[in-house]
């Protein structure tokens, strides 16, 4: 038996420590890992728990992140509860195997500490790696602070391993702003946390010799499409399981989470859609603007994949809403930001069809201040008052040099 870890009602943990404690409490069978900044402490702490008898599972040191995720795929196919952590370049090196894990329907948990992708090389937090994973077939949950990094990691096991889901889950948190910032965290005691996550139930496990199975089969044009369609259906259908697990978590802890978090949206005239640690900045900005008479609100997809088209649309489908800005913290590579594209698609089928604009911000860990959030929201107010988008549709926030923007509206 693994030793119990003594925990206070309130601990002071950073996001990395919170995630590693959640992995420990879930009693993962196999962690195959390769360290990378800023997620290193997650697997470093996990290795210490394992060495000191707080975990019964195996810790496998591998030669690369490609090897780490490959080890996870093998261990998960064998029939174990499996998890690892990574960031940025490590995430990129895992990319090939991420698609294998989801296609093979292996409920691996990957804690991703978001960091920019090179070049230029950068260790700070932006959402390039998270965005890179968006078509990989994984469920992607986003934690905005250390408490949520802990909570979402526990929920991730329960969601991914659910017999109606069986899909891998990423839990994202922002590099440094969340991963290295110590905050008050209210943990569950070990037994309570484990009971919530539950015992691992193997499905089609290779260690069941009475029912030998082939994992990782090849399919060509006569079979591939059906398998990918089934996989997509499972990912779309996971929405109801995510909702029910989050509801169960609220029952246990009193902490309420939704696939899309909304703040002051009931009567908002302008709104900011944003992910990660910037959500708290945006909420503060919106609150201050409300004191100044501007009805501002914030929409924050907690669940990035499956994309919550349903709840984003619900959040935006009000009579009061006039203008929405989508904040993308990832270099868009010759397109509008992904969040802008996806939120705009959801907004297009609302009655109100608010004016939509896009900001690229925070690349490579560039700070995003409350004042800047207020400025951007006030700009939305100007669009709302004019009845059309008065600026370029895509703009950049916080970059030095001449004003940079692309595309103008034809609605005005």
């Amino acid at each position: 038996m693994a030793k119990e870890f003594e925990l206070n009602e309130v601990e002071v943990w950073d996001g990395n420590y919170a995630a590693s404690q959640a992995l420990r409490q879930a009693q993962v069978d196999v962690v195959a890992a390769y360290p990378i900044t800023p997620s290193t402490p997650i697997v470093e702490n996990y290795g210490a728990y394992q060495a000191n008898g707080y975990v019964e599972g195996e810790f496998v040191m591998v030669e690369s992140e490609h090897g780490a995720m490959s080890g996870c795929v093998g261990a998960a196919a064998a029939g174990g509860r499996v998890a690892t952590a990574t960031s940025s370049q490590g995430f990129a090196l895992m990319a090939e195997v991420l698609y294998q894990a989801s296609g093979m329907r292996l409920p691996i948990v990957l804690t991703v500490v978001n960091r920019a992708l090179a070049s230029p090389l950068n260790v700070r937090g932006d959402h390039s790696d998270m965005y890179m994973g968006r078509d990989s077939g994984w469920i992607q949950l986003d934690a905005f602070n250390a408490q949520e990094a802990y909570d979402m990691t526990l929920c991730a096991f329960k969601i991914g391993e659910h017999l109606d889901v069986r899909l891998p889950v990423m839990v994202h948190q922002d590099g440094f702003t969340t991963s290295h910032k110590a905050q008050n965290v209210y943990p569950l005691q070990d037994a309570v946390a484990y009971k919530f996550v539950g015992d691992y139930v193997p499905v089609d496990d290779m260690l069941d010799f009475s029912r030998a199975v082939t994992h990782g089969a090849q399919t060509e044009e006569d079979w591939h499409f059906e398998h990918k369609a089934r996989q997509h259906k499972a990912l779309m259908d996971s929405r109801t399981v995510i909702d029910s697990v989050l509801a169960e978590f609220k029952e246990l802890t009193g902490r309420e989470y939704k696939r899309v978090e909304t703040y002051m949206m009931e009567d908002a005239e302008v709104a900011m859609v944003v992910l990660g640690s910037s959500v708290e900045t945006a909420v503060l900005a919106a609150k201050e603007l409300r004191e100044e008479g501007v009805k501002a609100g914030v929409v924050a997809p907690r669940c990035f994949r499956p994309f919550p088209f349903d709840l984003v649309r619900d959040a935006l489908d009000t009579d009061s809403l006039k203008a929405v800005v989508c904040m993308d913290k990832s270099a868009p590579g010759g397109a509008m930001g992904a969040l802008f594209n996806e939120v705009s698609a959801a907004a297009y089928s609302t009655k109100s069809r608010p004016l939509m604009t896009n900001y690229i911000f925070g690349l490579g860990g560039r700070d995003f201040s409350k004042e800047e959030a207020k400025r951007i929201l006030l700009e939305q107010k100007a669009h709302a008052d004019a009845g059309y988008v008065t600026t370029d549709i895509q703009q950049f926030s916080g970059v030095r040099g001449p004003k940079l923007g692309f595309f103008q509206t034809r609605r005005g």
Binding site: G103, M104, R105, L106, R166, V203, D204, F209, S210, R211, A212, V213, T214, H215, G216, A217, T219, E220, D222, W223, F225, E226, H227, A229, R230, K233, A234
Partner: protein, 149 residues
């Protein structure tokens, strides 16, 4: 040549791709395929001809249609060293009780590794054109090579 192992079972029953096509709602989760019908606990101790291979086992399908050259096996020269059995990447050399029986043409891809590793003089396995008649090939077998001084 014995045909018990080579012929009388489900091997190569179907062309790859000839199976019944299922819709997205019927395919298995995660492309997992059961390898055998029924309990497979003792499968490692069961000889091929007695195994209950499932319809989706590659054993049941023939996967050799793209072979251009085929190995032909000459029993008269073979010393049953098992080198070809060890090296074949597709387990297409059939051997029982350490005695070479023949080649599984339903799965052999014609790579020629078995010929490369055959130590006899002349070789007991040689590559011939896929269309070549086997008896004709055996009739053209080369003589023993003398050592060059």
């Amino acid at each position: 040549m014995s045909t018990g192992v080579l012929g009388e079972n489900k091997r190569g029953l179907k062309e790859l791709g000839a199976e019944d096509k299922l819709g997205w709602d019927e395919v298995t989760q995660g492309v997992v395929l059961t390898s055998f019908e029924g309990d497979s606990s003792d499968i490692a101790h069961t000889v091929i001809e007695d195994r209950t291979y499932s319809d989706f086992n590659t054993y049941t399908a023939t996967v050799a249609s793209w072979r251009v050259l085929k190995p032909v096996y000459n029993r008269d020269i073979c010393i049953d060293c098992q080198n070809c059995w060890v090296w074949c990447p597709d387990t297409s050399i059939i051997s029982r009780d350490k005695q070479m029986i023949g080649i599984d043409y339903d799965h052999c891809k014609g790579c020629g590794v078995c010929v490369e590793v055959c130590p006899t003089n002349p070789k007991s396995l040689l590559m011939f054109n896929e269309a070549k008649d086997i008896d004709e090939a055996l009739g053209e077998w080369p003589e023993k090579k003398k050592k060059e001084k």
